[in-house]
Amino acid sequence: MADLRANTGGIRSPNPFWLASAPPTNSGDQIKRAFDAGWGGAVWKTLGSPIQNVSSRFGALNFRGTRAVGFNNIELITDRPLEVNFREIVDVKKHYPDNAVIVSLMVETEEEWRDIIKRSIDAGADGLELNFGCPHGMCERGMGSAVGQEPKINERITSWAVGYSTVPVLVKLTPNVSDILPHGRAAQRGGAHGVSLINTIKSIIGVDIDRFVLEPRVAGLSTNGGYCGAAVKPIALHMVAQLARDHEFQLPISGIGGISNWRDAVEFLLLGSSSVQVCTEVMLRGYRVVEDMIEGLNTYMDEKGIANLDGLVGKAIPSYSEWGNLDLNYDTVAKINPSSCIGCQLCMVACMDGAHQCIHPNPDGTRVPFVDESECVGCNLCQIVCPVPGCITLEEVKDRLPPASWNDHVEHGAALREKKGVH
């Protein structure tokens, strides 16, 4: 059994799986059930001056019969009285002392920050998360992503919070910026103990094509919401990795964005997250999904001989480089295994219409397509569309030129191989 204990900026939990600040962490009863199910930590639904929500709050992106590959919401922070939330935090910590309870906060003035931080810590919070990310509603009132998009304001409020807090402070970053680095560095300058990202992405999830109204529809109007769910994972992975490989940025990271299973979690860990936060998958499937997350991660680590999370965190970061450093002489070609090919020819039409026209009908008359390796650029599209796992592999061409990147070529005149697929 691998040691799954996690520590992000001094916030410790029995495993790296935290519930993100969102509807699944709206109340003490919910969080107790989540901890019973196995969640290592929970970031309490953002506390602040309680708001009034709209009716109709969520929207989903469905694709080829799969529901909610993407998700968005126009819900705001807590709508429950602060004293009720604090009472429930006390109760949760009393019954679950080993699980991490992080309280998400969003208020405006320094006095309000000081007050709500004190009350949170008094209630037993193991850590705080400053919500500088919410891209809808609250930002119109000068909070949420309105803070996260301005590094100076981010730094100032972070320094207030760190000054008033006796527990670790995480800054939750918004992805609604052109470059994440200035914002992570601002949190660091403000003294934060860690960052969590990404918050949701500003989005319109869809349009009701019968009513000509955006979704989710509130009477005859709607507004942009926060995009999340499986579809946002690639954006989140990039932003997490951008920070993790930055030499100036040194804070621990709690990774968030489309994490639906243990595999997703491993990817976030490999790119530098020391814990992960989950919301959408729990909203779609319930707290019970954590059982497989824990077991899957454990089994994976045992099979890899990795004893603890330190053996995973950031281990893929060295592979993240610039395009100019990639080896232009590395050459792969697609191979189709005729014994597992089912003859759908999706690879052929994809290559002909969407790639480099190197897969053709087999001259022997069978439905196993023929790859013209002299033209194959190794783009992977055929493998991506193939419905049979393992049927198409991309294999490295031997006897090639020595490795040479674009930078090598420009700087030292390194020899590049002849281009393929430029017919």
Partner: protein, 440 residues
């Protein structure tokens, strides 16, 4: 919509049957449609005699474009609704689905096609208009699937058409012969009306061409520019053995027509026998079980491996309680006035009598040993060649006699509805080519 036929009695015997492949509702159709891989140059399409763009129509179901889906189907096969129900998809499109190669259940193409075409008929979606009148006229003899498909295609080209049907109702075997758990007669007639809704298809029913009161071929040659023969097959073959005239012995196709368009009385029949081993025999076994006969035995000369009926249908029949007497040759029908049993000789592997004889108890016997060929009806027309009773045609449906074309069972000897549709449509295209002197 034109009323093609006299109404069917509401209490006819076939109404006891339910669909053996129930229709999909929307959610089921979407789940199944989204499983389709959308193959390129899809094998299912190649396997369909009418070459429906199956991957295309399934994708349209998945996107909610059901109207476009139905149009895609019906553009290739105007009888797509009945074909969706009656096609032996297991040996056609579904049998070729690539999912079979990875041991994943193949796409239920027939059920998806039914989903789209049922909707088209329910909603009355019409996709095709008659072409501008050409002044040419085509006579179609026989009102079954081949003629209906040909007539519709010819109307799209703008030619005038008249269907001559000897029975009271159009639809051919779809109306009179298809097993009711696949397609009921009222649905078949609804489809006929849907086909006729293109307009301009004249129909003459109840009078046989060449028969009393009917037009002669000479009349048709005088009044029409082309003649299509879609006359199907003739009466059930009979067995010339002792007792063949006892009551309770029927030809299979005639019996099926009787209970599809009217009622049959099976009161007191506890044992029935079906002679034959083909698809009609298997249908009859399942139909008699469905009509309430407790013990139905198929009597066949060969063994299970050698029967020509589809394996998947016989498997269904067995689940429904069918029994079989293999390697048995009827010698005589026994009984006083009414049949009581079939006296059989046991056969060996070479279908030679072993010398042993036995009696299969049966108060009802259906003979499903084939139908006569109707080629003789046109044998007197010089140029039309017959092969084993079938009308010989080329790939485009042309006979050896100028201006005569043929398709469906009378030309192919008895295949599926979808083959008749394909052949009728091909003949229509050939006729159009000839009527326009090859300009189109």
């Amino acid at each position: 919509m034109p009323d093609s036929s006299p109404s069917l009695p509401p209490d006819r015997s076939e109404t006891v049957f339910e669909d053996f492949k129930p229709a999909y509702d929307e959610k089921q159709a979407l789940v199944e449609a989204n499983r389709c891989l959308y193959c390129f140059d899809a094998p299912c399409q190649t396997a369909c005699p009418t070459h429906i763009d199956i991957a295309g129509f399934i994708r349209k179901i998945a996107t909610g474009n059901t109207r476009g889906s139905a149009k895609t189907i019906l553009d290739s096969n105007i009888l797509g609704m009945s074909c969706a129900r009656v096609c032996p998809v297991e040996v056609l499109c579904v049998g070729e689905c690539v999912h079979n190669h990875q041991d994943v259940p193949p796409i239920a193409i027939g059920k998806l096609q039914r989903y789209a075409t049922d909707k088209a008929l329910e909603e009355g979606w019409q996709f095709f208009e008659a072409g501008a009148p050409t002044g040419k006229r085509v006579a179609l003899i026989g009102g079954g699937p081949a003629s209906l498909a040909a007539a519709h295609q010819l109307r799209r080209y703008g030619h005038g058409v008249t269907i001559f049907e000897a029975r009271e109702r159009l639809g051919g075997l779809n109306t009179n012969g298809v097993a009711p758990y696949k397609l009921r007669a009222d649905d078949a007639l609804a489809e006929v009306d849907y086909v006729l809704a293109i307009g301009g298809i004249e129909v003459q029913t109840g009078v046989a061409v060449g028969g009393p009161g009917g037009s002669s071929f000479a009349d048709l040659e005088r009044d029409y520019d082309a003649i299509f023969l879609g006359i199907g097959l003739g009466a059930d073959s009979v067995m010339k053995v002792p007792g063949a005239d006892l009551a309770g012995i029927h030809g299979a196709v005639a019996f099926i027509e009787a209970f599809k368009t009217g009622t049959v009385d099976l009161e007191g029949v506890t044992h029935a026998a079906v002679i034959g081993g083909g698809n009609t025999a298997v249908d009859c076994v399942r139909e008699l079980l469905g009509l309430g006969v407790p013990c139905v035995q198929m009597v066949y000369r060969g063994d299970e491996a050698g029967m020509s009926g589809y394996e998947h249908e016989w498997d269904e029949a067995k689940i429904e309680g069918a029994q079989a007497v293999w390697r048995a040759m009827p010698l005589a029908f026994e009984g006083a006035g009414r049949v009581a049993g079939v006296r059989c000789a046991a056969l060996d592997d070479q279908k030679k009598p072993t010398g042993r004889e036995f009696t299969v108890p049966a108060a009802l016997v259906l003979l499903a040993i084939g139908q006569s060929k109707l080629g003789a009806l046109v044998a007197g027309l010089p140029g039309i060649a017959l092969n084993n009773g079938r009308i010989v045609v080329d790939e485009g449906g042309a006979t050896g006699r100028s201006r005569y074309y043929a398709g469906g069972d009378c030309a192919n000897g008895g295949k599926e509805v979808v083959n008749a549709v394909a052949e009728g449509k091909a003949a229509a295209n050939t006729i159009h080519h000839h009527l326009t002197n090859g300009r189109e």
